[in-house]
Structure formats: structure tokens, C-alpha cells
């Protein structure tokens, strides 16, 4: 019997096209994916991991397969619903339930069939991926060896368990509740669990919980592959170990329990036991008095009645009908249980997601409105999508589903009224959801004790920006339902549209004009509002609204209004209906769309440059081929910069004039100047006679020949004009140069000298695609050209800088230097700055309506520094922490390294379009997105276990940027490999010195743990091969920031802090403000080695010149009380040490190294901290502590590098 049910279901499914449709879609997506990553399309570059990972590496196939099993839950839902609900839908229920069928056979047979069908559908993924990799036209250097296990293993560990659990959920719920809609709610529920798990996962302390919580096992597999490097990913995917294993077991178990529950709960009965809160007895005795009268009564009654007069001539009031229908549809929607349930889920999600607002170093930000809005605009899209999907179908199909359409269709209600009422009702439903979102957002803010409610901003963001996108989605959904005219297929196509639109649309169509609903984004900032972004945004949206209206008009003509609905008939009807007013209005909207489209095209492609990424690549190739030969062309250096810059915040324009003094610092005469500009620069003039020999307007390169060549130490003055006009808009949106409030411009606005290799393509794979030779990621440490220039600007050493900046009367303009003069002229503010000390050719120009917090710092030597923080009014939360950071830095660095070179230091807030802080001479632009709104109210909260402590990153970031005033602005590194270590690792170490004084030991540990995790987690994304700190390349930021911080901290501990600091002090002394030749890591490491004792030479080499990892494991540990009430401890510790080469190969190294061991009592107080010399393999440690020990940790302070960034204690046993 069981087999018969199973067989019947399979046979039935395989006779229908749906299952093959799903299979084909899965196959095509998988196949297309491998083609895209394997380089089949010249214009598409996709990769999931670093360039050293093969596109078919087990680690990648793993990720791809689990993404499929999670995106494919729609298919599982469809398959299950079809199998389960068949009997309810086709009224075969009574036939089925009146057979002597056993419940267990019914349930098991059908579930087995559903499961097997889903597995069949998902088999397409593996087949598609595998066949994809075999395609001969792919770039086979990207494809590693193909092993069957690579494709089979993810099925066992991911796809099958996921299908099992998910189909158990769908199967059980739709069987018990007899409704398809519960499947949609389950989808949303599962998705929300996944998103919540992913949010939790970002928090290092919650990773285990997150790993268990994610029903798809994605978080868990990430957890067990956290520290995988590129070569690990090439070797194997996630092993079924640890949390990944537990996760799989947990969810398979839950799935089984659910099925068992279903078995007991399910009843073979016609009527579902009704779930009603209030029983309505009267409705049960329907037939007792159903208005029957005797026929005689009836005849009497009839003759007594007179029909009321009806004036049907007033039947032509479409508006009244429309309003009534809108009311009717809206009530139906808002009264729908599932609609309300989905809304409820959404609210729950908002509250859970709000817990992790803006997390950085486990520290959240205040729930300012834009942060809350980012939750509302994120994963919640899925909820709204499901609402649109479900209820557009429900509305279009309601009459037919209820079999009332034959009556409705004979009523004189016009098509457009029917359509418009449904559309409006669904739009009102969305409005309702959005209002609930806003309300939830406000409650989230109130709960976080944040009371600056910006309702206007909520409304503007939700209804002024996002709402239109939901309307556009609704048009598509309705249109698909109308055109496809099959509820079930309609859903499939809408989902397909959504998947393509969310993931592939821009790869396929590139231009906003071609991607339905497309347009440039807008970003909100507290400082700048929506800036200049709204106008272009709405121009694009208007274009799409016209197209949507045209689609609706066509859709309306296709609306089925008769009982016949085959295509021939519908096309015939369409032909009949497309006339008169319809065709006129269609023509009008299409004409408007075409004009808007042309206007947009004129702006994006003619006035401005529209570049697909592929075209961008081709240009970079051409640039390189054309000008690479001039890379070594000797150029003079810029020694003086004078600027006059006018900022116009109202219009976004920037006008400027400038002069450079160029000096020949080589020992050769120079006869050609190569000016690297941009399209806003013009009117170059020189104080020496020159001849323009070539001007390239595409790449903005100009070559000038000096009539008389520039002799060594000779100077020439060049002046230029900059005209930056906010003119129209481009594909990316507004083209303003400065912002309405919070302008932040770089020196790159103005010309530079010589060929810049920054514009070259750097990706190994992309260069290979275009036939370019491999490019070294950095110049060699011994490269003479590299040593002659610093890493920040190749065309200058230290310059004199002077600038007059004007801005609107309500703004303050800032740039490096001392403020010499400030005045007002014709409703504009003018500021004249001049640097008091030579500085790097690296400056920024900022302007905004700031408030300013001021202070002063005095050095013991009597130097006074004016300190100011220019900030947005309302962002006062952490100014004290930042100011403290500035002062602590000045104290620490001037004592450790050298005096501060300027008389002022300014921190200036800028809009959150970027979220970093950056150090310019005496000025630190600091994004409003980090630091200013960090929520540090619980910073000093006591009784918090150290894992949960928050980190004052405004302070940390400030001290880091402050350190750059020394490590960059005093000592600039050469433009060669390793220079980032001199700049960033030393800066991190400096910041740690400030933190140590200010943070407790636990917070330091937490910070170091974060650094360790970031480093090991990023290794798989390395594109060019990992490098040691000494040779680190500019793109390897986690090496020079995170590993750098750990390594320098360890060196400070192993060599002694004073030793290291004095090495650094000497380094500053020798290289500060020296100009070329610039120092490299050779120079610093040489000094460190000189200062280090012989016993520590190995450590310096391991830390700085090699990539070294350890694996530690406390095998067992015992303690014994001695007669004198001290305790004797015997610990057995396993140590592995290995080196990693550039390719990621790990080679065992013999260890005889100092490793710290710490012993704690039961209250986590350290009883002993000592470095032991530990060998590879098992070590026996024996020592005595004074009090009763409880646990032991190897390397608690992160001095050695391990892949496991947790340092859990091992409990001691009494021996």
C-alpha cells in the first residue's frame, strides 16, 4: 500500500511538466553560474572566493550548493503543496479517505514521494555544475581537478538534510492546516531564522548559537571553515564535524519529530476540526429554520410585496463603484489571517534584527533613524515580496477560485475598475505594512532609550523612496498573473522574475534603462540628507512608472472577462480592445516613457560616460598599453601647492584655481612633463616655455615638451583651473562635486604628474583574460624607483601647502594647515590656510554646517596644540571619548616617538557615504557612520563578563588616526612591498599603547581576539598569495591591520616594550621628513633584530618575515595539593608549529619556542603567567602555584598566531 501511494505520486508528478520545469531552471542557473565564474562571458567577473581558489574547489561547490538548497525552498514548497493538498483541492478527499488506507501509509508514502521528487529536482544543481565545468570554452586554468566527491558530498551534508527538514515542515504544516499559504509563512519563518543566525554570527561570542540556529547549516559550515585558507578550500569543503555535525543532526531530528507529530495529529476526516476562538452556535443549526415556509405562505407573501423603484440609469458612476471595490478588496486583504500573520512575523524580525544595529567590535550604534531604516530596507524585502506574490494571485484569482466569476462577469463593471481596485487595495496593504514598520522602528528606538524620533525622515524614506519600488513590483506580479492566466505558473514566473531581478539582472542588462525598476540609489546621511540624489532617482522612477502604466494598460486588455481563456481568443480580444481611448492613452504613456528614456540616455550616455565594467576593463587595458612605457619617465616633484577653491554647496559646483611649483630632484635634465588630469581641469600654463605635444582627452593625459629642459634643482611653476559643474546626472546618479552639507574632497581633484599604475587592472584573472602580463602586487623592496617615492604620492615628497577655500555663508571650510585668515565677502565665507610645517602631498577639503568642540593640549615642553572636533549638531555622544583619544595620543606618541609637528589638530565629521576615518596633515576626517553614533552607554557598566564587554572604538579609531600623524605624516614609507606594515601595523601598535592605559586587560583580550578572527577569516579571499608582514602587499589589509596589531603587540611583549619603543623612536629620528630615499621594512626589521637578544631572533623572523601558525591543545592537566598548602600542577600540552608559503602550502616546522601559559583560580584570577619553552609534540609542564588552581590557557594574550581564535580555559583535574 505504501509503495502504491509512493509509486502513484511519482508517476503522476513525472507525467506533468512542472517537475521538469523546476529541474531545467535549476540546471540552467547552476550551469550559467559555472559559466560566469569560469570566464565564459567576457563582460562578467564573478568569484565567490579569492582568485587562488578554483571555481570548482570543494569549498566553493559547498557554498554554491548550500545557496541553492536555501534559495530553492520555493521549489520544495511547491512540490510538497502539490502532493499534500491535491485531495483537498480536487475534492478527491472523500474518495481517498473512504478507502481502507492506513494513515501511516498515506503519510509515509506521500512524504517519501515529496522527498524523492525534491531530490530529483535538486540533482539538477550538481549535474549543471559538473557539466558546466566541462565546457571547452571556459578558462580551464581557473578550474581545478574535478572529482565526483566534490559534488556528492554537499548533497550528503547540505542538500539532503535541508530538503528533509524543509520538506518535513512544508509537508506537515500544509497537511495539518490544509492550506498552501502556511508554506509561504514557513518560507518567511525559515528565512528569518537564517537571517537572524547570520546577524548573530557576526558576533564572535554568539557564533556557536548562530551555527545551531540556522536551519540550512550555512552558518555552521562557515564556523567550521572559518580559518580555511585558499588552499584549504581547494582541498576540501566543510567537514561534518563539530557544530556543523550537531546542526545537521539537530535539524534532521526536528524534521523527524515534526513528521511524527503530524502522524499523530493528522486525521482522516472531511472537516478539519475548526479552530475558533468563540464558538458560534447559531451557525450550526442552519437547517432548523432556514426560512422555509409552506408554499401557501409563500404565495401570500409574494403578492404582498412590491418591488422598490430602482433608477438604474444612474448605473454609470465608475468612481463610486471603484471606491466600493477598493474598500471591499482592502477589507478582504487586511482581514486575511495570513496577511496578519506575515505582518506579525515581520514585526518580530524587526525587533530581533534591531539588536545588532551597526555592530563594530561588538559595539552597537545608537538606533538613529537611518540605521533603523536600513533594517526596514534590508531582508524585510522578502516579506513584502511574498505579500505581493500571494495576494496579487489571490485577488486576480479570487472570483474564479470561488466559482463566482460567471456571475461577476455578467455585471456591468468595467475591466479597469476591477484591476484598479485590486491594485489599489494591495497598495494599501503595503502601506499598512510600511506604517507598521515605521511604528516598530519608533518602538525599537524608544526601547533603546533613544528619543530623537524623526517621523518625517521615516515617511520620506519609506514613502518617498522605497514605496515606488513595491508598486513597480506589484505591476509585474499582476501582469504576470494576468498574462500567464494560471495561478500556479504565475507564482513560478513571479519568483523567477524576482530571483533574476535580485541576482542577475545587472549582469545581463547592465543599464538602468533596461532593468525593470532600475535607477541609481540614494543614500541618506544625517549631515547631508539625501543630497542631490532624489532628482535623478525620481527621473528614473518616472520613466519606469510610465512603462509600468503602459504594461498595466496592456495587462488590463488581456484581463480575462469571459469564460473562454485560450490564447487565440485572448489575442483576438486584445486586438479588439486596443482601440479608441485605450490606444490613445497607451500611446501617450509610451511617448512619455520614450522621451524620459531619451532624456536619461542623453544624460547617462552622451553627456556623461556610461561604462559597463567590461568597457572599463578595456579602457584600463588600453591606458596601460598606451602609456605604460612612460612609467619610468623622470618627472620633477611638486614642492609647493597653492589653491583657491570655491565650493558652492547649494548647486554642488566647485570652481578652483591652483599652482604647483615643480622641482627637478633627479640628477638628469627633464624635458617632458606628463600631466595626469581629469575632464574638469583645463588651462594649464607654465612659467617656462612649453609645447603641447600630445593631449589625450579620453584618459586626460597631456605631454608638454619644455623648450629648455629642466636642469637638476631647477623649478617650473604650473597653474591650472578646475571647473566642476553639477551638470545633469550619470548612470550612478547625481554629478555634484561638493555636497549640500558635509563636502569631503581629495587632492586627487587636481592634476598629478607622471603615469599612475593605480589605473591598471590588478586582478590576476582579469589581466589574464585581456592577455596582459601578470602584474606584481607591489614593487620589490629593493626597487630603486619605489624607494625614491613615498607610498602616498609619487609626484611629491614633503610640500608647502597654502589654500584659500570659500563656501556658503552658513558653512565652515577646512583643509590642512593653520588658519591664517578668515573673512566674509558677498554672502560667502572665506578661509585662508597655510601649513606651518612641510607635509605630504595629501590633503582634503571639507565644508559643512558644523558645531565645534574645542580644547587644548600642552606638551611638557610647552608646545600648545589647538584641538577641535567639527561635528554635526546632534552627534555629540562620543566627543569626549574622541577628545580623550586625541590627548592620550599626543601624550603617548610625543613621549614615545617625537614631538607633534603641527600647532593644531582637527577632527571633522563627514557624511556616511564612506565609513572610515582618515588622517591628513593635522586633520582627521571621520565618518558619521563610525564613532560619532556609537552607543557607549554601557562602556563603564560593571559586572559584565569580558566577552560581552563593548569596545570604545571611537577612542581606538582616533588614536589609530592620530598615530598616522607620525607613521605617515612624519615617517613616510617607500612605495614598495611591506610599506603598509610600516604605516598600519606600527599605527595599530601605537593605538594599542594608548588603549592599554585606558582599557582593562579583558577588553584588550577581546580586542585582540577580534583582530585574530578577522585575520584568519579573511585568508581564503586572498587573491595573490599570502605574504609575510615584511613583504605585505597594499591590498592585504587584514595582514597589516589585524595580524600586524597582534604581531607588534607580541614583539612588544617578547622583546620588552621599552626596547621596541626605543627602536621605533630611533626609526622616527632617522627618517622623519627626510624625503627620498624612503624607508622600507628592511630598515625597521634590521633595527628590531639588532635590538633583540639572540634567543628572540627566531621570534622576530617568525612574526615578521614568515607566515607562522601554531596549533595548541591542552591534553590533560592535574593539580595536587602539597603539604605547605601550595599546589603542584602537571600539564600536558601538544604543540604544532608550521609555516605557510605563498601558495598556501603548510609545512611542519620544529618548535622550540617560548609560549605563554596562564593558570587561573575558580574566580578567573591569574595565579601564574609564565612563558615556557615548548617543543613540537607533547610537552610536560610542571610548576607550583600558591593557591588552588582551576583552569589553564595556553597563550591567553594572543602572542602566537593560531587558526582557532578562541582561548578557552581547560579545567584542571585533581590528580
Amino acid at each position: 500500500m505504501l509503495y502504491e501511494i509512493f509509486r502513484f505520486e511519482l508517476k503522476r508528478a513525472f507525467q506533468r511538466p512542472a517537475i521538469f520545469l523546476y529541474w531545467s531552471i535549476m540546471f540552467l542557473i547552476a550551469f550559467a553560474f559555472i559559466n560566469a565564474t569560469g570566464g565564459a562571458f567576457k563582460s562578467v567577473n564573478i568569484h565567490l572566493a579569492g582568485e587562488n581558489v578554483y571555481v570548482n574547489a570543494p569549498g566553493v561547490i559547498d557554498i554554491v550548493m548550500s545557496s541553492f538548497s536555501y534559495l530553492g525552498i520555493f521549489v520544495i514548497a511547491a512540490v510538497c503543496a502539490n502532493i499534500v493538498l491535491k485531495d483537498f483541492q480536487h475534492n478527491t478527499l472523500e474518495l481517498m479517505f473512504s478507502t481502507p488506507l492506513q494513515k501511516v501509509h498515506y503519510i509515509a508514502g506521500r512524504f517519501a514521494a515529496a522527498f524523492v521528487l525534491c531530490v530529483f529536482v535538486f540533482s539538477a544543481v550538481g549535474v549543471g555544475l559538473y557539466i558546466g565545468t566541462l565546457m571547452p570554452y571556459l578558462n580551464h586554468s581557473l578550474i581545478g581537478p574535478n572529482e565526483f566527491m566534490t559534488y556528492i558530498k554537499p548533497y550528503l551534508t547540505r542538500i539532503l538534510p535541508n530538503i528533509f527538514f524543509v520538506s518535513a515542515v512544508f509537508f506537515s504544516l500544509s497537511l495539518l492546516l490544509r492550506s498552501v499559504v502556511v508554506n509561504w509563512i514557513s518560507i518567511i519563518g525559515l528565512y528569518i531564522m537564517y537571517v537572524i543566525a547570520m546577524i548573530l554570527f557576526r558576533d564572535l561570542e554568539n557564533q556557536t548559537l548562530a551555527s545551531l540556529l540556522d536551519p540550512f547549516g550555512i552558518a555552521a559550515s562557515l564556523k567550521v571553515t572559518t580559518a580555511d585558507s585558499a588552499s584549504d578550500m581547494n582541498k576540501a569543503g566543510a567537514g561534518l564535524v563539530d557544530v556543523f555535525l550537531y546542526n545537521r543532526l539537530l535539524w534532521i531530528g526536528l524534521g523527524s519529530l515534526l513528521l511524527i507529530f503530524t502522524y499523530f495529529r493528522f486525521r482522516f476526516a472531511y472537516n478539519l476540526r475548526s479552530i475558533k476562538l468563540l464558538s458560534n452556535k447559531k451557525s450550526n443549526d442552519l437547517d432548523s429554520g432556514d426560512g422555509t415556509m409552506s408554499d401557501k405562505d409563500m404565495l401570500i407573501k409574494i403578492s404582498n410585496q412590491v418591488a422598490p423603484e430602482i433608477n438604474t440609469s444612474n448605473g454609470n458612476k465608475p468612481l463610486a463603484t471603484l471606491l466600493h471595490l477598493i474598500g471591499f478588496e482592502t477589507r478582504k486583504l487586511l482581514g486575511n489571517t495570513y496577511f496578519l500573520l506575515i505582518s506579525l512575523l515581520m514585526v518580530v524580525f524587526i525587533f530581533v534584527a534591531s539588536k545588532g544595529i551597526g555592530k563594530m567590535y561588538d559595539t552597537t550604534t545608537y538606533p538613529v533613524t537611518y540605521q533603523v531604516l536600513s533594517i526596514l530596507g534590508g531582508s524585510i524585502q522578502l516579506v513584502l515580496f511574498v505579500i505581493v506574490l500571494l495576494f496579487s494571485g489571490e485577488m486576480i484569482w479570487r472570483d474564479r477560485d470561488r466559482k463566482i466569476h460567471e456571475i461577476c462577469l455578467t455585471y456591468p463593471t468595467s475591466r479597469w475598475i476591477q484591476f484598479a481596485s485590486k491594485f489599489t487595495a494591495l497598495a494599501l496593504g503595503i502601506v499598512f505594512l510600511l506604517l507598521i514598520m515605521i511604528l516598530s522602528g519608533v518602538i525599537v528606538q524608544a526601547m533603546a532609550d533613544y528619543h530623537h524620533y524623526e517621523l518625517g525622515l521615516y515617511v520620506k524614506s519609506v514613502f518617498g523612496v522605497s514605496f515606488i519600488n513595491y508598486l513597480l513590483l506589484m505591476v509585474v506580479a499582476f501582469l504576470i498573473h494576468i498574462v500567464v492566466n494560471n495561478k500556479y505558473l504565475g507564482h513560478v514566473f513571479i519568483i523567477l522574475y524576482w530571483v533574476i531581478d535580485s541576482y542577475f539582472a545587472y549582469d545581463l542588462f547592465k543599464h538602468h534603462l533596461l532593468v525593470y525598476g532600475g535607477g541609481p540609489g540614494v543614500a541618506y546621511s544625517d549631515m547631508n540628507g539625501y543630497g542631490f540624489g532624489m532628482l535623478p532617482y525620481w527621473i528614473f522612477k518616472l520613466y519606469w512608472i510610465c512603462i509600468a502604466v503602459a504594461l498595466m494598460i496592456i495587462g488590463n486588455q488581456l484581463l480575462v472577462t469571459q469564460t473562454e481563456d485560450h490564447w487565440r481568443k485572448r489575442m483576438q480580444l486584445l486586438g479588439n480592445r486596443l482601440k479608441g481611448r485605450t490606444i490613445v492613452s497607451l500611446t501617450v504613456v509610451v511617448l512619455i516613457a520614450v522621451s524620459l528614456g531619451s532624456f536619461i540616455f542623453y544624460n547617462t550616455n552622451i553627456k556623461h560616460d556610461f561604462k559597463t565594467s567590461y568597457k572599463g576593463e578595456l579602457e584600463a587595458v588600453e591606458y596601460e598599453k598606451k602609456y605604460k612605457e612612460y612609467e619610468d619617465l623622470n618627472q620633477p616633484k611638486i614642492t609647493d601647492v597653492k589653491l583657491h577653491v570655491d565650493l558652492y554647496p547649494e548647486s554642488g559646483n566647485v570652481m578652483a584655481k591652483g599652482t604647483y611649483i615643480l622641482k627637478n630632484l633627479t640628477d638628469q635634465p627633464i624635458d617632458t612633463l606628463l600631466i595626469n588630469g581629469n575632464k574638469n581641469l583645463s588651462n594649464y600654463s607654465f612659467t617656462k616655455s612649453v609645447e603641447l605635444i600630445e593631449e589625450d582627452s579620453q584618459y586626460n593625459m597631456s605631454f608638454y615638451r619644455l623648450t629648455k629642459s629642466l636642469q637638476p634643482n631647477d623649478e617650473v611653476k604650473i597653474s591650472f583651473e578646475y571647473n566642476g559643474v553639477n551638470d545633469g546626472f550619470s548612470h550612478n546618479g547625481a554629478r555634484n562635486i561638493c555636497e549640500k552639507n558635509g563636502t569631503f574632497l581629495y587632492s586627487s581633484l587636481f592634476p598629478s604628474l607622471g603615469y599612475s599604475d593605480q589605473a591598471e587592472l590588478s586582478s590576476k584573472r582579469i589581466r589574464e583574460k585581456h592577455g596582459l602580463p601578470a602584474k606584481p602586487v607591489a614593487l620589490s623592496r629593493d626597487d630603486q624607483q619605489g624607494i625614491q617615492r613615498n607610498f602616498i604620492s609619487r609626484d611629491a615628497d614633503f610640500i608647502n601647502f597654502e589654500a584659500v577655500v570659500s563656501t556658503s555663508s552658513d558653512q565652515t571650510a577646512l583643509t590642512p594647515g593653520a588658519l591664517v585668515k578668515q573673512w566674509k565677502e558677498g554672502e560667502r565665507n572665506y578661509f585662508h590656510y597655510r601649513s606651518e610645517h612641510p607635509m605630504l602631498h595629501y590633503y582634503a577639503i571639507l565644508s559643512g554646517r558644523y558645531e565645534c568642540k574645542q580644547s587644548q593640549w600642552q606638551s611638557p615642553g610647552g608646545q600648545t596644540v589647538e584641538l577641535s572636533i567639527y561635528h554635526h549638531p546632534g552627534h555629540e555622544y562620543n566627543l569626549d571619548n574622541m577628545m580623550l583619544g586625541v590627548k592620550t595620543s599626543l601624550d603617548t606618541y610625543s613621549k614615545c616617538y617625537s614631538p607633534y609637528q603641527f600647532g593644531q589638530l582637527r577632527i571633522v565629521e563627514f557624511p556616511r557615504y564612506a565609513s572610515y576615518a582618515q588622517s591628513f596633515p593635522n586633520m582627521i576626517p571621520f565618518s558619521e557612520g563610525i564613532g560619532f553614533i556609537a552607543d557607549l552607554r554601557e562602556l563603564d557598566k560593571e559586572d559584565v563578563i569580558f566577552d560581552k564587554q563593548i569596545i570604545d572604538y571611537p577612542f581606538f579609531v582616533t588614536t589609530h588616526e592620530m598615530a598616522h600623524q607620525w607613521w605617515a605624516h612624519q615617517v613616510a614609507a617607500a612605495d614598495v612591498e611591506g610599506s603598509q606594515m610600516l604605516m598600519e601595523s606600527l599605527t595599530q601598535y601605537s593605538a594599542l599603547q594608548c588603549m592599554e592605559a585606558y582599557y582593562g586587560k579583558d577588553r584588550m583580550k577581546k580586542f585582540l581576539k577580534n583582530e585574530n578572527s578577522r585575520y584568519v577569516m579573511s585568508r581564503k579571499n586572498e587573491n595573490h598569495g599570502e605574504r609575510s608582514l615584511a613583504l605585505v602587499a597594499p591590498h592585504q589589509s587584514t595582514t597589516y591591520y589585524n595580524k600586524g596589531a597582534l604581531v607588534m603587540n607580541a614583539l612588544g611583549n617578547y622583546l620588552g616594550k621599552d626596547t621596541l619603543i626605543s627602536v621605533l623612536r630611533g626609526f622616527v629620528k632617522d627618517y622623519a621628513f627626510k624625503g627620498a630615499p624612503y624607508p622600507t621594512t628592511n630598515d625597521l626589521i634590521g633595527r628590531i633584530k639588532t635590538a633583540a637578544p639572540d634567543s628572540m631572533q627566531y621570534f622576530v623572523e617568525d612574526a615578521l618575515e614568515k607566515i607562522t601558525f601554531y596549533k595548541t591543545n591542552v591534553d590533560s592537566v592535574f593539580y595536587k595539593r602539597r603539604k605547605d598548602f601550595t599546589y603542584e600542577v602537571d600539564a600536558y600540552v601538544n604543540i604544532d608549529k608550521y609555516y605557510v608559503d605563498e601558495k598556501g602550502n603548510e609545512s611542519e616546522a620544529s618548535c622550540d619556542d617560548y609560549i605563554e601559559v596562564e593558570v587561573y583560580n575558580s574566580t578567573k584570577e591569574a595565579l601564574l603567567t609564565r612563558k615556557f619553552k615548548l617543543k613540537s609534540g607533547r610537552n610536560h609542564l610542571h610548576f607550583v602555584v600558591k593557591r588552588k588552581p582551576s583552569s589553564i590557557i595556553v597563550d591567553p594574550n594572543y602572542y602566537i598566531m593560531t587558526k582557532d581564535f578562541n582561548r578557552f580555559g581547560t579545567e584542571m583535574k585533581k590528580g
Binding site: S283, L286, D287, G289, D290, G291, T292, M293, D295, M298, L299, K301, I302, Q305, A307, P308, E309, I310, N311, T312, N314, G315, N316, K317, A320, T321, H324, L325, F328, K332, G335, R398, R402, K403, I404, E406, I407, C408, L409, T410, Y411, P412, T413, S414, Q562, T563, E564, H566, R568, K569
Partner: protein, 287 residues
């Protein structure tokens, strides 16, 4: 008031010729449309009700071209399909009110009067606050006729309304129909011959898309006067009678076939002349 159907042809995409050059004139009063399953009744009714278009032919109602001016005709049209459902969880009154708006009755008071009147007329006023999807079959059909009567239509089409109703409900429903048929064209499609006999002053019998008979039921019965003969036979004899006579009807009576044949003169012994009824008309037509 006159509904004129001329030369209607309808062929479905699957090749079924549902109506073949079909013409019919229908005047005011109750018009019965008889025919076996698949005769083309529903196709004809749906075509008149604007729910589908014929391939050829014209239909006019008074002076209105039904096929061209659908919106115009819909205002004076009431249609009760063979099988219909309702929205769940909506009371009868509310649903009727909803449809009244769709029908174009915008004056609130008029609408209320109309709804109340119709609910009373179909005898559901007591049940007006009940949800329609909980109604019994007869109540639902009565509610359906209320839907069809909304807006005082001049052309009412009811497609097999009494199928599945118990005798009492059927009676009740027929009373309702006869009451509304004054000053209106009411087309009643059915395969229950008695309904037509009881209610209709005019009728047609169609089969395989063609009009077989059209006229007043009494006239049609009169035509068969003296030509219908009845005999009780055994089951084994049935094929032989079929071969020798024009057997128009053979139904079981007390377990034995009772046959009616159509013949002008007296057939062999054992046959008795009987007064013809409408059933004889029907069966003689569709043979």
C-alpha cells in the same frame, strides 16, 4: 421585449461544434430550454450572457446588439450559472450589497431597499446575517436568483437551477421564477421536463447544437395527440421493439420497461394509446 438569436455558430478549439447555425426568437415570459447533457444549452446561455463570443451570428435584445454592446446589455442582464460559489465569511446581505454596487446601484437607500426586497423575495431575509457559504443547496440557489435579480434586469438567464434540489426546494424555486417572469425575458435551461411544463409559456428543445423544436408546450403536446402508444414489456424484448418501432422512451416501471412509441396508427396489440406529455415531446424530438 424580444431576444433574437440568428445563425449562431460556435466551435470550440478542441473541435466540438457546440452550436451550429442556431436561430431562435424568445419573447417575454418564461422560456424553457430543454436538451440533453452536452446539447449546447450552456454554450448558448453563456453566449447570451456575454460570457463568450460565437464564431458567427448575431444576438439582439430589443434593439441592442448583445455581442457588440456587452456593457449595455450587462445592465439589463441577470445570470445564474449552473454552478457557482461565494466568498467565504461574508453575510448574505453584505454580499448582495457588494454585488448591487457592481451592478451600478449607487444610491445607498435604493440599494438597501433593493437588497432587503430581494432577500425577502427569495425568503432569506431571516438569514441575511449568515455567511452564504454555510447555506444549504436550496438556500444558495435562492440567493443566486437574488444575485441575478439585482438591478431589475430585463433579461434573466438561469442555467439548470433546480438540479440537486429536493422537491420542496424545487417547488419553492419554481414559484420564485414564475413570479419574476412578468415583463421580463426569463430563459430557463433545464433537463427536468416538468419544470418547463409547469413554468414556461414558450420552449425550445435543442440537441447537438441545433434547434429541434420550438413552440408553446401545449401546442407541442397537442401535435402528438393520438400518436403515442404505451406498452409494458419484458427486458429481453426491448431490442426487438427498438428494431420494429420508433421507441421514443423506455423507462422502468415497477422494474419492467414501459415503452412509448410514436406512430400514427395503432400498432400491434398490447399497446395502449396514452395522452402525450411534454416528456414525449422531448424524447421524440431528440431521437
Amino acid at each position: 421585449m424580444r431576444l433574437q438569436i440568428k445563425n449562431i455558430t460556435k466551435k470550440y478549439p478542441n473541435g466540438v461544434l457546440a452550436l451550429n447555425r442556431f436561430s431562435l426568437n424568445i419573447g417575454s415570459g418564461m422560456f424553457g430550454l430543454l436538451g440533453p447533457n452536452g446539447a449546447g444549452k450552456s454554450t448558448l446561455l453563456r453566449t447570451i450572457a456575454t460570457l463568450q463570443d460565437p464564431d458567427e451570428g448575431t444576438i439582439t435584445f430589443d434593439d441592442t446588439d448583445v455581442l457588440a454592446c456587452k456593457d449595455e446589455i450587462k445592465k439589463s442582464l441577470g445570470y445564474l450559472p449552473q454552478d457557482f460559489g461565494v466568498y467565504p465569511k461574508i453575510s448574505a446581505k453584505e454580499l448582495l450589497n457588494h454585488f448591487a454596487v457592481l451592478k451600478g446601484i449607487h444610491n445607498r437607500n435604493e440599494r438597501k431597499d433593493m437588497v432587503d426586497f430581494l432577500l425577502k423575495q427569495v425568503n432569506l431575509y431571516e438569514k441575511r446575517k449568515k455567511s452564504v457559504h454555510t447555506f444549504s443547496g436550496g438556500m444558495k440557489q435562492r440567493f443566486g436568483i437574488a444575485l441575478a435579480l439585482l438591478g431589475d434586469p430585463k433579461l434573466i438567464i438561469v442555467d439548470e437551477p433546480t438540479a440537486g434540489l429536493d422537491p420542496a426546494e424545487r417547488n419553492r424555486f419554481n414559484n420564485l421564477l414564475s413570479e419574476i417572469s412578468e415583463q421580463k425575458v426569463v430563459i430557463l435551461s433545464t433537463h427536468i421536463v416538468d419544470d418547463v411544463k409547469d413554468l414556461c409559456n414558450d420552449m425550445a428543445i435543442i440537441n447537438q447544437g441545433e434547434l429541434l423544436v420550438n413552440g408553446r408546450p401545449t401546442d407541442l403536446i397537442k401535435e402528438l395527440n393520438g400518436r403515442i402508444w404505451e406498452k409494458r414489456i419484458s427486458k429481453q424484448e426491448l431490442p426487438a421493439y427498438h428494431d420494429n418501432y420508433q421507441v421514443i422512451n423506455a423507462h422502468l416501471n415497477e422494474g419492467k420497461p414501459l415503452i412509448h412509441i410514436l406512430q400514427d396508427e395503432h400498432p400491434e396489440s398490447g399497446f395502449e394509446q396514452v395522452a402525450p406529455n411534454l416528456e414525449d415531446v422531448y424524447f421524440s424530438a431528440i431521437r
